[in-house]
């Protein structure tokens, strides 16, 4: 049996001299009809470029296939060498042979057309369906990707749909041509974990229904464990290991695969929580938050009733010195707003935030998610690090210089870094820089807002280690905001789970992760991909997050809590 796709010694280069600037350096693989191949690697490993070469989309990004062959079996049985094909043939292949879904569903959809129009267009171009038949086909395919109430959704514009919905629309469009091969380039990276689980389950079901092949590109080995038949690990343009999924996961041959499986935090349901620095009952907290409420007013026109987005609704917790409290939740759950409220960055907040007198004038400092956006590109490191000190009345003298050198060395940056500018550092180094800057004022509390989420997996692990070391050394308390349960498991002493602006469960990390009580926590933990759970089957779960927009004057009912352990409280769920 001939394989659906056979790639031999593929070389792809970029720039003026593609042979000298090779990004993919001789990759070979085969894909049988109906099978799924996962390409795993970190950013810069050439995994996306490899995938984009298969339908020659790489040409439009400035890339060029310099050597090798890609043989694709078309629906009529003929075999086409994609590297030699002309643009007209390629358009047919892209239309009806190979479908593709991208990482960012918002930018892949045209914002000025309804999703219905866009799906109908896909049907018209690929199958020649027009008018009523096209509309019916669009409706059917939306049903197939399990979009509830498909008929009215056809008239929606992309911005009216959530990220998960948009990604489902993208999948629907890719399905419009009934492709023999679907390439999914990090299709769930921009999505929340529970939505990610929904999309993964959907892809698995669609694959079973249509028997199409899939190439799944991801940086997360745990994610593909349940869906892939074969796995190919890429590092710096070379496939370092490829084999059947069980062989790779249970018996990795290459060092890099082993490193990926080991260094990358994998979620283990509370087995890997920290054992140091436990909470001491009765110790005075360094920060306590009592009944924090943040509401952003929405105006709906002059005469309509006023309303407000209840971003954070009655959140209370406290934080002891030297302790990490992780706030987990999905986008829109209010976790970042809570973090910003503690630093006074929101304009509409009420409730009490009490900070015990700390070591410095500003005992709470913050590290932001995006290390590229949180450093002014026009200032050098010396000016960046000096800013907090100058803002608090210190002089730029030898002592300050010494502290900068000390912190730079402590976070693992070279001493000559002071003269350099942010763009001369990698993402991980920039985040270290942000950590050093946050420590300049010798704070007691550092708020880490998704501080490792934007980093590559192995860099992530090293920054987490650094954070734990710094915590011990300076007796720091961390408020660690994250959506990533695996990361949280490594660093948190206590965990607060937020859902729709409220804390639904809070307590000691092991208790919350190993024995979740609230239905949302259970769902969140069930959705985390893990190597150990690869054989479990996930059903498509369509639960949506409720709207947070409320009428003016609405107050949520008082929360009732029940005790689930010594340090483990759960909000009592009320049927709504």
């Amino acid at each position: 049996m001939t394989p659906l796709l056979r790639v031999r010694d593929l070389h792809v280069g970029f720039g003026r001299d593609p042979k000298a600037n090779e990004v993919v350096k001789g990759v070979s693989f085969e894909l049988m009809a109906g099978q799924t191949l996962a390409i795993v690697g970190e950013s810069g490993s050439g995994k996306s470029v490899t995938a984009l070469s298969i339908n020659r989309l790489v040409d439009f990004g400035g890339g060029q296939i310099t050597a090798g062959s890609i043989h694709f079996q078309r629906s009529d049985g003929s075999v086409l060498d994609v590297t030699q094909a002309d643009e007209k043939t390629l358009r047919q292949v892209r239309g009806s042979g190979i479908g593709m879904i991208f990482q960012e569903p918002m930018t892949s959809l045209n914002p000025v057309h309804t999703v219905g129009t866009q799906i109908e267009e896909a049907f018209r171009l690929n199958r020649g369906l027009t008018g009523a038949t096209g509309r019916q086909a669009a409706l059917d395919v939306l049903d197939r990707v399990r979009i509830p109430d498909a008929k009215s959704r056809l008239a929606y514009y992309p911005h009216q749909l959530s990220g998960g919905m948009r990604q489902r629309v993208m999948i629907a469009m890719a399905l419009a041509s009934s492709p023999r091969l679907l390439i999914a380039d990090e299709p769930t990276t921009a999505l929340d974990v529970t939505v990610q689980a929904q999309i993964m389950a959907l892809l698995a079901e669609l694959r079973a229904e249509t028997s199409m092949s899939m190439i799944f590109i991801t940086h997360d080995i745990g994610l593909v464990a349940g869906i892939a038949d074969n796995i190919m690990v890429m590092q710096q343009g070379v496939a370092v290991e490829q084999n059947q999924i069980d062989a790779v996961l249970d018996n990795p041959q290459h060092d890099y695969t082993r490193h990926l499986l080991k260094a990358v935090p994998h979620f283990s349901a509370g087995k890997a929580v920290r054992t140091d620095g436990h909470r001491v009952e009765g110790r005075a907290p360094i920060v306590s938050v009592d009944d924090l409420v943040v509401r952003f007013p929405v105006s709906r026109g002059l005469f309509r009733a006023k309303a407000a987005v209840h971003a954070v609704d009655g959140v209370s917790f406290d934080l002891q010195p030297g302790e990490t409290l992780a706030i987990v939740g999905e986008s829109g759950s209010g976790k970042s707003t809570t973090a910003r409220a503690i630093l006074g960055l929101n304009s509409h907040q009420r409730g009490a935030i009490t900070t015990a007198a700390g070591r410095s004038r500003r005992p709470i400092q913050m590290v932001f998610q995006d290390p590229f956006a949180s450093l002014n590109p026009r200032l050098n490191v010396e000016a960046l690090l000096a800013e907090p000190a100058i803002a608090n009345g210190q002089r730029k003298d030898a002592a300050l210089h010494e502290r900068m050198q000390f912190l730079l060395e402590r976070v693992g940056l070279p001493a000559d870094a002071l003269e350099r500018y942010p763009h001369q550092f990698s993402g991980g180094q920039r985040q270290r820089l942000c950590i050093a800057r946050a420590l300049m004022l010798n704070p007691d509390v550092v708020v880490l807002d998704e501080a490792v989420s934007a980093l590559d997996v192995s860099v992530q692990a090293r920054v987490l280690d650094l954070l734990v070391d710094l915590q011990r050394e300076f007796n720091l308390a961390y408020l660690f905001i994250s959506h990533d349960m695996a990361v949280v498991e490594r660093i948190a002493h206590r965990i607060a789970v937020m859902f729709a602006g409220q804390i639904v469960e809070i307590g000691e990390a092991r208790g919350v992760l190993a024995d979740p009580q609230h239905s949302y926590t259970k769902r969140l933990i069930a959705a985390v991909p893990a190597v150990e759970r690869r054989n479990q089957h996930f059903a498509v779960d369509m639960t949506q997050v409720p709207s947070l927009v409320r009428q003016a004057g609405y107050e949520p009912p008082a929360a009732r809590w029940r005790q689930a352990g010594i340090d483990h409280q759960v909000r009592v769920e009320v049927a709504s």
């Binding site: 910003r340 998610q369 026009r378 200032l379 800013e387």
Partner: protein
């Protein structure tokens, strides 16, 4: 700074632009220092309306004054007005745009609507209006042109300032307790240098043209001080007999505007991060 100049010199249209601007500045400087072929205001009555020749390279006018000497002085006068007015417009526009973006709300609304009103008038008409009220002269020209181009700078600053204000590094600065002055100068203004530099170069070209237009209408530079627009105006009745009187000032204006525009375009290519990534 030297990096930008180096890049500008490497850029094909930047090199031409820089060369023209350099040439004009040299000519203007020589004119100001009195190092002209002939005294610019002296009337050689015997040589009235002679065409370009070995002794008068660009000919003479009705009063027997040397066109080339007058042009050199005119370039100086026009450049002075252009630079001064653009400097004022940059200063005023940057302050207005920065504060509108930073304060937001009512301030933003009032300031920017005011700018919109100014922008709604055609440039030369607004300048005419201002001069009609105050009376003609060099200083009035500078003020009028500055007011005309202030809204453009206010807009150029406000847009990026609004997006910079939302950036994480501004939030980070707030968490350290940095002063507003520090945030405005180090975090906002420093990042606005690139778009401003481009706008300044382009505005110089427009200012040059507006000044010529005002002088042509008799509302800018007053005789006997030569200026490019004024020389053009004086030549229009002699177009048939002495075409050189019109050709040389017109070419000078055109070439000057070309120089500034080429430099501005090159600057944009160099400073705009989107195009930078492609060339890097």
């Amino acid at each position: 700074m030297t990096r930008v100049f180096g890049a500008l010199w490497q850029h094909p249209s930047g090199r031409i632009g820089l060369f023209i601007i350099g040439l004009y500045l040299t000519l203007a400087l020589l004119g100001v220092l009195g190092l002209t072929p002939h005294p610019a205001l002296k009337q050689f009555m015997i040589d009235r309306l002679t065409g370009p020749s070995a002794s008068y390279w660009m000919g003479t006018d009705l009063l027997g004054r040397d066109t080339m000497s007058r042009l050199m002085l005119g370039i100086g006068q026009s450049m002075l007005i252009a630079f001064a007015s653009v400097a004022w417009a940059t200063l005023a526009g940057t302050i207005i745009g920065l504060f509108a973006a930073w304060l937001g709300g009512l301030w933003d609304g009032v300031l920017m609507r005011l700018m919109d009103v100014l922008l709604a008038f055609p440039a030369i008409l607004l300048a005419l209006l201002i001069i009609a009220i105050v009376g003609p002269g060099t200083f009035t020209s500078v003020t009028a042109i500055a007011i005309v181009y202030t809204p453009i700078f206010a807009r150029v600053v406000r847009g990026p300032a609004l997006s910079l204000k939302q950036r994480d590094f501004v939030d980070a600065a707030r968490t350290f307790g940095s002063s507003q002055r520090y945030i405005l100068s180090r975090h906002l203004l420093l990042n606005l240098v690139a778009p401003l530099a481009v706008q300044v170069t382009l505005a110089l070209a427009w200012a040059l043209l507006t000044e010529a237009g005002l002088s042509f209408l008799g509302l800018g530079t007053q005789p006997p001080t030569p200026s490019l627009g004024l020389m053009l105006a004086e030549s229009k009745n002699l177009m048939q007999q002495a075409p050189w009187l019109m050709i040389f000032p017109a070419l000078t204006i055109m070439l000057g505007i070309l120089g500034f525009n080429l430099t501005g375009d090159a600057l944009r290519d160099i400073l705009d991060p989107r195009t930078q990534r492609r060339t890097a």
